[in-house]
Symmetry: D3
Subunit: 242 residues, 6 copies
């Protein structure tokens, strides 16, 4: 059936699914619930189900990038999910965002390849306003410092985000990347939201994305897992609200 | 100064501005308020100011299309506006939308030219979730039948929306246009929202769009001004809520 | 019928139609004829008919930009027009062009969105050589200073023409715009000719464009309505010649 | 120096240069003049100089395609030429054009690669109106049947013009090619005009193109050298007129 | 340091690295060697080192898609690897390829997003001829049935490879995908080779790709792990030969 | 029949055909064989047949650029050829390549127009690994200094290769061309390989390309025919090996 890659069957997943990129974050999210149990572990798809404050919820890691994310989305829809929230890590490109802060994505810049195989260039990768509201309400109620705005989703962690590649590779177009996106009020770089949000609009399910800031690109700061605990709390609470 | 095209000066406009495409709708909107007076009339830019239920509000018509709309937006920002709502008419391409219904745009497909002179292809033309919420709340409280979703903004009323041009002109690519967009859950065609919403994200102001369905493209029905009264009520109420 | 937006009926317009962008210029053009009367005023479409030196002629304003212009063109063809001449204002980007000079467009750079919904990227937006000849002859006979060459038609008056947008917005690509176009011998910027001339080639009608220079972008000079009187005389005379 | 490929020196060429694609047509053109002598023969560049009715003229073959044509143009400009007229053969795609007819190009669809290395997509490949006029006048005065309109210049004689390639190769996009271009009133296919006319606009020299119809693609007729004699007469006369 | 995602340090990897997409295949490959031990397991990056017939070799899984693959490549180069061979599974689109056969990629069609963030559209994703030779020699010596040719690397397993998406989603462009690629002699679909081979050409390391056919798309057959044993043998042997 | 442009008939050409761009090089290649005789001379297509060390071989010049090359390829395939090797001249852009050196192309950057009329942007222009091997073996056995790598094939000798055009024309994008390609390890510029190698992959014939370095672009050196003798020897030997 459709869930070939995830290794899941109908009935395995509830309506709400959290989707971290990192395989290991899936288990950390599951641990944050009142109860949880493993569903499957195949390729980069680690899945758990559980209950958070009385709400049935699952988590499925997507791995890095749009191609792996789209497979997870296609198969989760087939299994009956209808509200998918990315729970990711990110690098910020605006001055006023600190390492450890939370970023709630209102819409994504489609700098991935996957979304273009689903929809032409101008189609919007926008989050569901209901998911945005729930994430904002969760962050507010938890007193977590957050930012709300546009996220750029790229297909390359190094050159595609304006970092030099191996041996200092830096073609001319990559040099304008960060300054242009900063001018356009883009808050941060990551690698999965554009795919998720484009598919959400095409297929009519609700989706959103929330990120913890591990890297501050302007100040060249990096703290692995900074804000991850807050990130998971905000995501869990948003599910409860939705 | 900046307001060369609009013929307005600093202080002329409040924070909230309604933006119909049709020049004549500007005066109909102004008439719906408790008090209103004309500001200016230049080119396609007809402007009024007034008070609706105690809220200072203005209306400025944009004319048809992104080029004229972007000029209005640039000059209104310079004048101090920070919440812009398009109040337009539209053609629906989904079966379940009736002539006279209201469509609230969550995000737009950028099939205009203007937004590409401001931002690269993948940048999202998404509405502010606060404006979406206010429009939904307004429509609900007024009991107006509405639909919420993606809008396609084109630069051509005829060929660019899948209608035959003069003499039946219908190049191959225009024949897949409507079927593809319907599959992608696009609700409707119009010609200004993508530009407005792209500029809103770049410049950091709040924006949204609401439309009355004059044309039902699937059933080939058309009623001029169908639902316009409801449209104006919803827009006015949304301003009050915001 | 087809003339939904213009508010005109078959028989209302003769073969020759002048097409200013500015709504108000339509009446100034009509006033320059021996006799004239208003046809309609809808949205940005202000129309007059009249007689100039024995020739039946009409004027229909297009509003700003390709989207509004294409609607006017589609509907005028349906009504029987076959020779359309844009009578516009413009900003010059070459040193030797002065404010108040006249520019006759031989062909346009398609930096609009509308023409791409009618024809693929390489299709030429070239003026009819007969209209070019008539405009040149008119300018020569009137002793008006004119320039003949390529015009760039954009969909954005500010950022798309290399001017900073709100808050100084100036993405990297907009900085090379004017220097590159100057090198390619482009004379001027405006916002309607590319659409008009592309449609003329597709639909097989005669078209041309003539502009008065209001802005000198190299010297940063601007005089509203500079050369407008000459502009109108040249356009009127060209109609007589054609 | 610049004329590396052509094998010519300053002073070798006059202002007017005829440019056939076929190497052998260069000598047939030279033979049509009152006097002529060979200049050089290098690669696909066969050149002659001569006098036609008292006018100094040269002919330089370009070989097939934009890449070879652009080299000839660059080097001829360096040598002082300022009016270049392509004298080519072509395949017609409209019903009313017969084998042996003459086609005068007003502008070309840029389906070549070369012109894009000189100018962005929307830049027009339009002929000089003076050259168009001279060609029309020449054809009229000689009583030659001619057509005036848009020419599509491709980089591929087989697949790029909608003919099946080796083994019947016919990808999906090539099947809409001819029907779409016919709808857009394109008269004919050839392989050099777009490059020539784009460079003419960039560099500010006069250029045009005239073709003899060897192939009628709609009726699947082909006669090698049909109309070539008329073609050469029209080109020669146009030079005299210019 | 650079190996942030892989969790490896300098000295951990030898020159030759095999790169399966599937996390679990990494351990199956390691098991095929004479000796092997785990290096790390982070996200989708499972790594082992070992010795095959006296040659030092490592395996690092890439996860699905170009984005995750490029990260692995960047970090492996930093660690000193210089010959990378993808060892993947694939779906064949030509009639004469059977489930369980082996496909050796000579070059890939770049239908990914990642490679475009490293190099412009025309840059080739070609395999090193030395790696191709070694893979061919390995397959020949092992008597394994193999095919040699072009591979298409997409960013979407479903819609991007011409399969219907959720709810039967099948936009117009996806319908020509498989027929066109078959005509162009493309053998198979997978999701990582284009990225790997583009980076190999940019960075100057040797790379290749070999796949086991799990799916026969023309006959709609699918056998998970078909030919995987042969695949691993061929890859191991190729390393020995290189 | 198909060989309209070449002027050849079935049986005229053997399986192996050498393809210089320069018309005159065809005869120099033929002179290098044990026996040879002219086949035809039409347009830029000069053809000879002969015997080199017992192997039947032909040479057909392609003229400059992809458009003329594709015609030759299509017609040669129709005539039965199945191994085509370009034998060209080139300009090197890497420091360590000297005038007179030989470059063997592993794959080409498609900066031509022709290949895009045959295949979409990501399709690879890669040489047959058997032809690469034969060329390497030939160069090694002859003791000729050679380089192996990526070649950029452009449609413009001047502006498209980063040289200033007439009057110093140098648009912004042409200034990054050489630095970017050098960073991507591109060895050299020429104008035919991308077309040849793309068609080889589509049509399933073997092809390769070898070039003599006439120009060293970094050091601004140029020697016409430098290394041409070695070039011809390498090509001849490769045919013998294949």
């Amino acid at each position: 059936g459709r869930a070939y890659h995830l290794g899941l069957r109908k009935g395995d997943v509830p309506k709400y699914v959290l989707m971290p990129g990192e395989v290991e974050r899936a288990s950390r999210i599951a641990s944050s619930w009142d109860r949880s149990w493993r569903l499957a572990q195949r390729r980069e798809y680690s899945s758990f189900r559980g209950v958070y404050r009385g709400v049935d919820v699952a988590v499925v890691s997507t791995g890095i990038g749009g191609p792996a994310t789209a497979i997870a989305v296609e198969e989760l829809l087939e299994l009956g999910a209808d509200t998918l929230i990315r729970v990711g890590s990110t690098g910020a490109i605006q001055d006023d965002i600190e390492v450890g802060d939370i970023i709630i994505t209102t819409a994504a810049v489609r700098m991935d390849g996957t979304s273009y195989q689903y929809a032409p260039a101008g189609y919007p990768a926008s989050a569901s306003y209901e998911v945005i509201m729930a994430l904002v309400e969760a962050a507010e109620s938890l007193g977590v410092r957050y930012h709300l705005g546009i996220t750029a989703s790229t297909d390359s962690f190094y050159v595609g985000q304006g970092r030099p590649g191996y041996g200092g590779y830096m073609p001319s177009w990559s040099r304008n990347l960060v300054p242009d996106l900063r001018q356009m009020r883009v808050l941060n770089f990551e690698m999965e939201s554009a795919t998720l949000l484009t598919l959400a609009n095409i297929y009519g399910f609700r989706a959103g994305a929330v990120h913890a800031v591990y890297a501050q690109r302007v100040k060249d700061e990096f703290v692995a897992h900074a804000g991850e605990e807050n990130l998971i709390k905000v995501a869990d609470e948003a599910v409860r609200i939705l």
